[in-house]
């Protein structure tokens, strides 16, 4: 009776909740500023008013984590329902067959029609005759310049050609001035600026059908030379001053020119104040021999095949494609409308600067629309930077880049030797082996039945250890084997493309690692971190342990507690705090230096200081842990030893050298090894504080592995990196055992 009542109540509740909460939830992923603004905007509120049964949940993804989040969500079959997707990423996700073909939805749509959009935007949404997205906004770059400063050196308008750009820059630069300033900001940290120079000179990274690199052409090299000239002659800064506030720099004349996108229009007005308004303007980029070509990009809105709310998602896509909504969106986030109709809105007629962007859109080029582009782009960026800042010679470097690109482009064309079946077979083999082991166990248990008078007691321990053993086998032992097998394959992003194959390539990944500059750099960094960080950390721990070990110290427990506090704090939080401590303008570190009249340093942006900065932070965080162990070791040293030494007339230093240190040896060993193994795996520090930069100066092995594995889905390659790390840690552990044997 009671049970029935209970059931009725439950059913009633279920029925009630389904009527109250029948709002369909649409998860909408947007990146960076877009995510923050669209989430707070009236636009979505209006949409929800028009569609009361749909609730939009905006999730903001930071740009630099967007790739791995998107890729893992697609692979895990838990994608968002609607997503903002950069035009350069479209082909990759289309190739993976992750995106929903929306042709069917378009048929009845009054809003989404091909001819309503700019051609360049629409092409990025088409993949193999399928429509896999709708353009949301377009994006291009123009020249921002200080009218007044250019006039002061005799130029009444913006530079229109390369030649003029160089002349203006020369005229603007004051190498002998007391206060350093630059003619133009040309950030070297990504490939964007370099690409525009190349296009303006008629050069391309890849050939017309995107099958071979063209970076060794004379046009390309000349363009890079032209770019490098600005850096070399001090017309543009060498160091990427990430902490230089661009608005401040523009206002004070630290930069007279910079190249940027439409979102900057409002920001310059906001941060430079009203009195600054007439002093600057925008113009179409200076033309090279191929014209004033700029980059065209932007973002589309896509739906995913695995989404469960397609109908509602489509409603949102349609709504965001209305001309008036696009104009509204421009007002909020300065994203240029992708709809032609939106540009005819009276709002834009009164905005001459926005019109300049409209003009620039006529002379644009977009990066190659191929799945490998993201990887090529990140490699290229790094090499180009080394060339333009004069670290590397252009000819040899371009030859390296060329071969790297060839390799990236060739992965798709490798003929298959072994398919996915091979790996699946290995995995199945593992499970079969498990099954056989279980059978063997059961068999031996049965055999033992006669021996033991109490069968229950005999079987119990097996049942007790089963949960742990099963977890360890499934999540540790099988993965370790699988990881090794994966490292022998070319398991990569294409593996996730339906109908593709995995190839067994032997030790090729390991061979590639040997010549992979980024990997070598990450290995070097990790070892640097170890070799410098571990000894300092151990010495600091020992120092404080010795102090605390003195008999007369008051409030010993209180000190110990304080020193130990950083150990238990979350590394992510620590990294965030220290990013603030190392801030150039307002950080604690530079303030502390200023007390001693030492000029502040650019801690995390400097090639030489970034790594020591991370080490300093790690020592601060970890020394308490080792200190506690040392303290215990010190207190375990028999008092008689000290007394005997004192009677023999030994001094303080002699006692320390001959009694304390030798007695501590085992403890020191233990600590050193523990610290080493911990430091091998450092990841969060560079991930949060420097993203591995500047120029890979702080990238760690684990971080490189993470980005290879989840940013580019090079699962085979990442597994090889994991195994190298494993080997190193293994070697250290074996070394420890050997040392221990010999020290006894």
């Amino acid at each position: 009776m009671l049970l029935r009542k209970f059931l009725v109540a439950v059913l009633a509740l279920v029925a009630l909740s389904s009527t109250v909460f029948c709002q369909e939830q649409v998860i909408f992923w947007a990146m960076g500023e877009e995510g923050m603004r669209i989430g707070k905007s009236e636009i979505l509120k209006r949409f929800e008013k028009e569609n009361p049964n749909i609730k939009v949940i905006v999730q903001t993804i930071p740009w630099d984590a967007a790739r791995e989040k998107l890729l893992t969500s697609v692979i895990g079959a838990i994608p968002p329902d609607v997503c903002q997707l950069g035009t350069t990423w479209m082909s990759e996700f289309s190739a993976m067959d992750a995106l929903q073909d929306i042709s069917g939805y378009m048929k009845d749509s009054k809003v989404v029609k091909q001819d309503a959009y700019f051609q360049s935007s629409w092409t990025s949404c088409v993949y193999k005759n399928k429509v896999v997205g709708v353009p949301w906004y377009v994006d291009t770059r123009v020249l921002f310049y200080r009218k007044d400063l250019l006039r002061a050196v005799g130029f009444s308008s913006a530079p229109k050609t390369w030649d003029e750009l160089y002349k203006v820059s020369k005229a603007l630069s004051k190498p002998k001035a007391k206060i350093r300033s630059y003619a133009i900001s040309l950030p070297t940290s990504n490939f964007e600026i370099a690409a525009m120079f190349a296009w303006q000179n008629g050069a391309n990274v890849l050939n017309a059908d995107n099958t071979a690199p063209m970076v060794e052409s004379n046009e390309f090299k000349d363009a890079m030379d032209f770019y490098a000239r600005f850096i070399d002659e001090g017309l543009a800064p060498k160091e990427d001053a990430a902490d230089v506030n661009i608005f401040n720099a523009f206002k004070t004349g630290f930069y007279s020119m910079f190249i940027s996108g439409p979102w900057m229009l409002n920001l310059v007005d906001r941060y430079c104040g009203d009195e600054f308004k007439g002093k600057w303007d925008v113009s179409v980029l200076p033309a090279g021999k191929a014209g004033p070509i700029s980059f065209v990009g932007g973002a589309n809105l896509v739906m995913f095949r695995d989404s469960k709310h397609k109908a509602a998602a489509w409603k949102l896509l349609e709504f965001l494609s209305k001309p008036d909504v696009q104009v509204e969106w421009y007002k909020i986030n300065n994203n240029l409308p992708s709809l032609k109709a939106a540009w005819n809105d009276s709002y834009f007629a009164t905005k001459p600067m926005v019109q300049v962007f409209g003009e620039q859109l006529k002379y644009t080029q977009s990066p190659p629309n191929i799945p490998e582009w993201e990887q090529i782009n990140s490699r290229l960026g790094r090499h180009i930077e080394e060339i333009v800042i004069g670290m590397k010679d252009i000819d040899s470097e371009m030859a390296i880049v060329s071969s790297e690109i060839k390799k990236m482009l060739s992965t798709r064309t490798v003929s298959s030797t072994l398919g996915k079946k091979w790996l699946k077979g290995a995995l199945a083999g593992g499970f079969v082996l498990l099954f056989l082991l279980t059978l063997y166990f059961i068999h031996s248990i049965k055999k033992g039945k006669g021996k033991y008078n109490n069968f229950k007691q005999y079987i119990t321990p097996y049942i007790f250890i089963a949960p742990v053993i099963i977890v360890l086998i499934v999540f540790l032992i099988i993965p370790v084997i699988l990881s090794f097998l994966m490292s022998l394959t070319d398991w990569n992003v294409y593996t996730f493309i339906p109908g593709s194959k995995i190839n067994f390539i032997g030790l090729q990944n390991y061979i590639d690692l040997l010549s992979d500059k980024t990997f070598i750099k990450s290995l070097f960094n990790t070892i640097y971190f170890l070799v410098v960080g571990a000894p300092i950390s151990v010495l600091v721990s020992l120092f404080f342990a010795l102090l605390l070990n003195e008999g007369f110290v008051r409030m010993r427990d209180f000190f110990r507690l304080g020193y130990f506090l950083p150990v238990v704090t979350t590394i992510v939080a620590v990294a965030v705090i220290w990013r603030w401590i190392y801030n150039y303008d307002y950080g604690l570190m530079n303030y502390a230096l200023s007390l001693f009249n030492i000029p502040g340093k650019n801690w995390l942006e400097s090639m030489t200081l970034a790594m020591p900065s991370l080490i300093l932070m790690s020592v601060w965080k970890n020394f308490g842990y080792n200190m506690v162990i040392f303290l215990a070791g010190l207190q375990a040293i028999p008092v008689q030893l000290y007394e005997a030494a004192r009677i023999d007339g030994a001094g303080r230093w002699q006692i320390f050298k001959h009694i304390t240190l030798p007695s501590l040896a085992p403890t020191t060993f233990f600590i050193t090894i523990l610290t080493l193994i911990g430091y091998f795996q450092f990841f969060a520090e560079p991930y949060i504080m420097t993203k591995g930069g500047p120029r890979d100066a702080t990238i760690s092995v684990v971080q490189y592995m993470y980005s290879q594995g989840f940013k580019f889905l090079q699962m085979g390659y990442a597994s090889a990196i994991a195994y190298v790390l494993f080997g190193l840690i293994f070697a250290v552990t074996i070394f420890q055992m050997w040392m221990r044997k010999h020290s006894e």
Binding site: I478, V480, G562, A722
Partner: protein, 277 residues
């Protein structure tokens, strides 16, 4: 210079060093807290404000209203508590079996377990991700809880402790007709309280502070744990330091509180781990 005087100097020197060390250790925490109670504009001063001129809790309200830190807090608690209890249960069961039973294959199994301790977690990153994907556990609490449910270190610690429990207790319980599981549940576990506390605190802290696994397994924002949410905040609001510091306070506060309450266990546990080796 008489002996007494030089001793005085030494004593004060040691204390000066200790206090300077403590100031350096604590300064980042104090600065984090004071920044977090400040406004976005006011923190940009050349001279740090140790005490905000106009203290405000706006950063915290922002975290809990618009950024939904409450949800991330809940996720962290659910995951850390579940992992702690599940792994304590599993590890103590296994530890008990290894400590107090004789069975064929025991030594081999234990050696195998110890050998797996050398495997760094990163080696299994890619395959575990794929296995979780195939089990449909990505982006779920279970996806983090199950792989962490058994730990070799935990089994080892449990076994070491339980070896010291007298066999007579177990035998006499058997005489009274106690079932094997009941012996474990009503006799062994209560006697193992100290080691359970130590291991539990360590597990909880490790899980709470873990970053790499939740970063990989939790794909959607509503499932992020606090450290992942903070990293996300750091990517998204990279210059809003006051907000970031408030986030850091929220992530750190529970674990620091736990540490202060349980410091005895923690410091003892660490001190002995270094000596027993």
């Amino acid at each position: 210079m008489n002996y007494k005087f030089s001793q005085k100097i030494r004593h004060s020197l040691v204390h000066v060093f200790l206090i300077v060390g403590l100031v350096i250790t604590m300064a980042p925490f104090v600065w984090m807290i004071s920044t977090s109670f400040n406004t976005d504009q006011a923190i940009f001063t050349k001279v740090p404000q140790w005490i905000p001129k106009h203290p405000t809790i706006e950063q915290y309200t922002k975290l809990f209203s618009s950024i939904n830190f409450l949800q991330h807090f809940k996720n962290s608690v659910v995951i850390a508590v579940s992992i702690t209890f599940v792994s304590l249960f599993f590890n103590s069961l296994a530890g008990y079996a290894f400590a107090k039973y004789r069975f064929p294959g025991k030594e081999k199994l234990f050696t195998l377990l110890l050998a797996t301790m050398m495997i760094p977690g990163q080696v299994t990153m890619m395959p575990v991700f794929l296995i979780l994907k195939n089990l449909g556990l990505l982006n779920t609490y279970l996806g983090l809880i199950i792989p962490a449910a058994g730990g070799v270190f935990g089994v080892f610690l449990m076994k070491q402790f339980m070896l010291s429990i007298p066999n007579e207790l177990i035998e006499s319980a058997r005489m009274d007709g106690c079932s094997e599981f009941r012996i474990y549940w009503q006799i062994i576990l209560p006697l193992s309280k100290p080691v359970l506390a130590t291991l539990g605190i360590f597990t909880f802290m490790g899980t709470w502070n873990d970053f790499l696994w939740p970063l990989i397994v939790m794909i959607r924002e509503e499932m992020y744990t606090l450290p992942v949410a903070l990293a996300n905040l750091n990517g998204q609001h990279s210059t809003e330091y006051a907000l970031l510091m408030a986030g850091a306070v929220i992530v750190i506060a529970p674990i620091v509180l736990l540490f202060l309450l349980a410091q005895k266990y923690i410091i003892q546990g660490i001190a002995t781990s270094g000596l027993k080796e």
